[in-house]
Amino acid sequence: MSNLELNLSQFSPVMQSPLYHFGLAAKQEPMNEGKGVWANEIALLSYICLRGDSNNAAFTKAAKKVLGETLPTLPCSLIGTPWGNIYWFSPDEWLIVCPREKRAELQHALQSALVGVHSQVVDNSGGYTSVILRGKHADDVLQHCTVYDLHSLTENKVVGTTFGKSSMFLHRHNDGQNSAYVLIFRRSFADYIWRYLERAATPYGFGISTL
């Protein structure tokens, strides 16, 4: 971890995202033609892991009651809800990504709705972060970083796959005509993943885009 912002005296905000030490906020600029790849961290979202048996009506009903939508059961699918996106991770696992402000409410709502139902609700908000990847060479860069076949990555699909020697969850992000992607990965790997991304993007020109 080099390029550190060592001035710790003033702490605001008190929360630090996993990519905090790259000081991305200070470097960001509006996207332009000059660079082929643009990325930035969508910092400090909330990540709630929900586990349960999708064949268990009690579970799916309770989940739907809270989420307003039936949990996606189509493999590798994602849906948008008023809370935020719900990602299918496995037949008995979903990730719900919502704004921090909604975390407590959502978690509580789920837990109380699922009392007595075989399930698990876990707050993993400190454990993940998201990066948005854009630009005309976004596809190329991803091809340098993951073995996944991007052609198969249709809208409303999320896949867990490799990123260099670590892993991530990946989905497309509707962003006009240019293809844009969202990468979700674990905090402790963030430094590695960002460096890897920077390195992979160098030949195309790498910029930090305003969100």
Binding site: L8, Q16, N124, G126, H144, R199
Partner: protein
Amino acid sequence: MRINNKNSRVDLTKPLNFNFDGKSYIGYQGDTLASALLANGVKIMARSFKYGRPRGIVGAGAEEPNALVQIDVGAKTTPDLKATQVELYDGLVAQRTSGWPSLAFDLKSVGGRFSRFMPAGFYYKTFKWPANFWPLYESVIRRAAGYGKSPVVPDTETYDHQHHHADVLVVGGGANGLLAALLAGRSGVSVILLDEQSEMGGYLLSTPNATIGGKSAIEWRDGMLAELKSLPNVSLFTRTTAFGLHDMNMIQAVELLQDHLPHSARSQTQRRERMHRIRAAKVTLATGAFERPLVFGNNDVPGVMTASALATYFNRYGVACGKHALILTSNDSAYQAVADLAAGGVKVTLADVRNEINADWDARFKQLGIDIYAGFGISEVLGSTSVTGAQLVKLQANKHAASGAPLTIACDVIASSGGLSPTVHLFCHDGGRPTWSDESLAFVVSSNGRANAGIYCVGAVTGEFQLQKGLVKTVATMMELLLSLGKKVNDKGLHLETNEIATSPAHAIYRIPTTVKAFVDFQNDVAVTDIALAVRENFKSIEHIKRYTALGFGTDQGKLSNVNGFAIAAEFLGKTIPEVGTTTYRPAYTPVSFGALAGAHVADTFEPRRYSAMQVSHEKYQAEYETVGNWMRPWYFPKKNQDMHNEDIHAAVNRECLAARNGVAMLDASTLGKIDIQGKDVREFLNRVYANAWSQLAPGKCRYGLMLDEAGMVMDDGVTACITDTHFLMTTTTGGAAKVMNWLEKWHQTEWPELEVYMTSVTDHWTTAALVGPKSREVLAKLCSDIDLSKDAFKFMDWRDGTVAGVPARVCRISFSGELAYEINVDASYGNYVWQELLSAGAEFDITPYGTETMHVLRAEKGFIIVGQETDGSVTPLDLDMAWAVGMKKPYSFLGKRSLARSDTARSDRKQLVGLLTDDPTFVLKEGAQLINSTNITPPVHMLGHVTSSYYSAFLGRSIAMGFVIDGIKRRDNDNAIFAYANGKAVAVKIVSSVFVDAEGARHNV
């Protein structure tokens, strides 16, 4: 000599300066180093491996065995490149890779005169006496071996990988590859076409006078390329070599991005090479063929080459390799070359081992004034450092013997053709085998023989050497391929008729009888006589012959020599060529740099470094790090001492330890694995995966647990908290986290799906600050008002939820140090903030951040184990004297339990963990010291066990250690000392209890 050939791909208006072996030359844009050197009349480019014989250029591409050069200098220097594959650029600097002191005179050539004493494998028979001289012999052999020099400074250029998924990958951009790619492209499927050369076209570039559909070869190629480029679903890659074909059509291909550019034009931000990993539904191999030379006497004299190389230099590069060419052939494929050279003003003499020459060709040759010797072969090349002529002999019917006196022909270049050897390499990489075709006289691959694996072959690689026939078959093969993708072939507007002259059958001959050395594999100096010797010595499998003679072992992997070798072996074995078969084709088709293989996985991105949220602060405190699993953990925090140097590790650790024991200190424990487990059967699940019992643990409480593998050996440990009756939070070791998570999931999914539990890793979500020491309560109290921290309200091994520094926190009163201690867990987003707040709050008590080394000392003072340090996969809980952590009465036979009862595992006299004390309190034992019975260290010495942990305890003012001793538990505290051996010395140690500090636990019960 450079000629002005209108078809040449070389741009004579763009001269380039370059340097070979210390001399400066001029070449042109479009040259390879080989063509430029030939144009400059350079003949000798190497010295042979064993005998130091002068060698020149034989081929024009990947098949070149001789001209290995060292390109560039310093950080960019690259060894063993083939001059035939090095594109010329302005300022290129090349060196020879063999020949000492010089190419003109090689010391080895002196020994070479004794070559008769150095047949294949001679070194197995000698260099044995006197026995102890082998190292000397070896050093001589080693110095004689090797071609180029490895760089000695790190590479400054970079590489990466790119993953592709395509419907159709076409390998090879010759006539057939271009056609195949176009047909695939027109059908709309995604297509990748790649070719190793600087431009598409393959052998068409060497036969400009061929016409396809009435167009000249080049025009036709340009037309194909234009349409291919117009198709959005087709990607074209030149300078890109498919070097490996793996299971399920995973092709590795390396693209050379910068080596062909002058330094001034190379970019630091671009890669030197890129490895493409292409997963293709269907692969079309259009890899062509290499011309096979005929084997004859002194066939290695510089100036002897393949007919196609001669043609390629003449037509593609505008270089005449001589004024008078003697061309020997056994088939018609060399005829075009003969005609082209003669038409281009070179005097050509043609020798054909066959007695009749195809009538149409004969007529052409007559017009061109070519002398023809039908039924003749070359018995011996004349000239030592370059060709001056050759002796022709009339061959008898069987072609294995000559009749009559040889006649001498003067010439300055000799070219031969023994037919074509298809480039079947990729087809064979994943287990495919080529088959011998008597008609093509070659090992060929069938166009659709591996269609079931999605592999199709077109063109010369299938043994179809006729251009027109090949193209027509390519259409048929692609029709079949596209059909399997549910597509139709569309050959609208493609005219494939050529101006070829029908050919007459080739003659099956591989060597011309001779009395002098005739080489099969130039690079390894494998001569016909070596193959004969191998067979004589019973090396009869072709794999043995390869290994005994080194046939095909070189950097060209026998592209020219293998088939001749197989055929000549067959002759000596009295077998047919298919009976002999081939050796195994393996990646790499042509060599590929380690850098390209590694891609981005070097330096900073070699492997992940995992960091906790407190890293920002650790940086500020200038931590030294220890790698634990993938994590970077602070090892200790050196402070500047009075003379402003950093403390050494001992000073730092002593300071950190005393702070923890006497004041307050803090450890970043975030890296511990954390698994959230929920469901009505959690207790039962824990009972099964842990050695100890979990039925009674009440909500609000924590318990230490030992996890065993099925063999009963300790695999992991950690503290697990009961949140509610159906909700537990497990912690694991830092290194074991992922393993344990998979372990739990696997048992649940495969053996106990009926248990209602779900688990989720929350390792990254929680950061953990371990606040340790008598003053920890006071520090915590400053930041935490909503938890009653009093001794009895918040007991040892309790946990509580509350807020610390205003941040929601889960505080566990557990202690890995034996001190009053709190582990404060918060959402990692707040981790660094809370850490900072604790540091400020503790400032008045001189709170001290500490690292893993101090953590180790503190736990060792308490006799706590570290899994992986005290354990090595062969240690049971009882060996650790931790029977208290094993619940033998649990109903379900927990993982590993049964193994503990095996006859050997149940022995009472196994090695057991004990404490160890040296007599000299200042002497710190070596971790890894072996424990023995006496000071007698003359081997063999019976070993009782070893020291697992050893430290200086600043708190106790003496050294302490733990280790394993046979039957150690019984032997505790009896006075007879044992000895710890390390660095050649044995020092006395006493076996004691492994708890050195506060056995009764008074310190944490406050």
